[in-house]
């Protein structure tokens, strides 16, 4: 059934009639398009983190007084594992000597994986306390704490070993060369609210470190 009215409505009845209809059609389509985009926007943005999710991501205070030298605890911040290690004097000395720097990908922490206050050989505010985001920068597994020298391999200085694909990090979370992971383990924003309590998720007052700007979580 191909019957249609003979005078086509699209035929311009003189330039003025045609232009006005085209303008109206254009205006109508444009306005409807804007309306549709505005209507879809709330749907899209509803998938962004909700208020309670953001509130739950607020900084948390952790009492570190109970961590024994050489011990690591893991806490959750923003649903991510955070490694907190009380480093022993031996471990601090090993890091200070930094003999294995040549085997590390980024011994000087030049990649933006930490705030300025953690850009040192210990990658922490105080040498005794290490705070890291415990997510391998390769593909996201949680590395195992292997602080015992010589445990993984004869020259192993102590650090982390990721079981998924074999990435290795030292006791400051710096990644070794020749492993799949590309970056050092990130240091989350944190500072000492007192000698025994650290607040994870908040920088020291003078720092402007933006955790969202790091290379790789």
């Amino acid at each position: 059934m191909a019957e249609t009215a003979r005078p086509g409505p699209m035929d311009a009845h003189g330039p003025e009639g045609g232009t006005r209809r085209d303008f109206l059609s254009l205006a109508a389509t444009a306005v409807a398009g804007i309306g549709a985009a505005c209507a879809v926007w709330p749907l899209i943005t509803s998938m962004n983190p909700a208020s309670d999710t953001l509130a739950a991501g607020a900084p948390i205070d952790i009492d570190i007084s109970g961590i024994q030298p050489g011990q690591q605890i893991i806490v959750l911040w923003r649903s991510r594992p955070i490694f907190i290690v009380h480093r022993t004097p031996d471990q601090i000395a090993t890091l200070k000597a930094d003999k294995d720097a040549g085997q590390l990908r980024d011994p000087n922490s030049s990649a933006d994986q930490q705030g300025a206050y953690a850009k040192n050989v210990y990658r922490s505010i105080k040498p005794e306390l290490l705070v890291l985001v415990g997510i391998c920068t390769h593909l996201g597994c949680v590395p195992e704490f292997t602080p015992q020298p010589g445990s993984i391999s004869p020259n192993w200085p102590g650090g982390y070993f990721c079981p998924c694909h074999g990435s290795r990090y030292d006791l400051a979370g710096r990644v070794f060369q020749n492993v799949p992971a590309p970056y050092n383990l990130p240091v989350p924003p944190y500072h000492f609210v007192s000698d025994t309590v650290i607040r994870i998720g908040e920088n020291p007052p003078d720092s402007t470190f933006d955790f969202n700007s790091i290379e790789q979580i």
Binding site: A5, S25, A28, A32, P42, L43, S46, M47, A50, D52
Partner: protein, 423 residues
Amino acid sequence: MAAPQSQSKVVEWIDHRLPIFTFMRHELHEYPTPKNLSYWWNFGSLAGIMLVIMILTGIFLAMEYTPNVDLAFDSVERIMRQVNYGWLIRYIHMNGASFFFIVTYIHIFRGLYYGSYKAPRELLWMLGVLILLTMMATAFMGYVLPWGQMSFWGATVITNLFSAIPVVGNDIVTWLWGGFAVANPTLNRFYALHYLLPFVILGIVGLHIMALHTHGSNNPLGIDRKGPQDSIPFHPYYTVKDAFGLGVFLIIFAVFVFYFPNLLGDPQNYIRANPLQTPPEIVPEWYFLPFYAMLRSVPDILFIKAKLAGVIAMFSSIFILFVLPWLDTSPVRSARFRPVYKWVFWLLVIDVLVLGYVGAHRPEGWYVFTGRVATLYYFVHFLVLIPLIGIFERPLPLPTSISAAVTKGGGKLAGAAARMEKP
């Protein structure tokens, strides 16, 4: 419409392998539509758009909702309070159900008035009734999901209906519940089905439109198109008219969503479901009220108990719509030319509104009697009045053609003798 050469090579390449562009041009652009359709013909497209809106909002709600009896109510409140624009998506979905039914009911009554269910559109009509049934199931299950007092008790009352079926009734109810009462298994399966059925509706709507396009739309005069002089292409005439109608509709919808979002709802559903406490009145959403009235009106009939009789009456009220094309004996489609049927149609409208009003109240006193009369009248309308009117009514003379009627000022007799149009 773009001229052929501006349709790019890409379009041609695709179209040669899967002719969707040709298909769309044929079914949307060129598709011949009667030139005299009134605004009552907007409601089909409005219903289609409401279906899309419900599916979209529903999917995004589903991302945040938890179908567990201990968590469902809280998850809905979380959507309202914590999720970005969650309150908007939820209110649109909640009021959208009501507006989906409003446009669908108007669409149906349009069909009843203008005889759109008559040959050759019987199957089109029956598909529509099937869509209505599926919508009702979907809406019923959707209302259960927030797990408020009305959610729970409405589910209990309606699922208990099936126990009226002799012999297998109780087994069916247990099977529906997945347990000894409406509980977590029930909620979970209702969630799964509530997500599924709208896509089933989408499929049936596809068939509905296919059936429509086979013979084209009916029109206010109820007479067939005779030739090109009676039609205009769907695009741009009805696309722009539908768009304008959509604008008006959205304004009304927006007033409800933004300013009266809870007007059509029940405060009881803001109370967490409590299996140990029945609310003082169990009332379904307004779009189920006429059926609810019928359900409660019917007394014991002969050997059939009132409970079963009510269930039969309620389902029959919809099934009767399926056979309407065969109940109506009139050779004339449109009520414009059917002076007796025209009044009877309005009596039906009033009857349905009365049933709705009765359904909102407790079945006591005056409401019982009125409910029974109104229920009886509904069936008398379809089973007695419609067949008889068709036979005994003297219809007005029909115009010779659509274009003749339109050019002479709309629907009036063109000249001397006019042929009667056979449907």
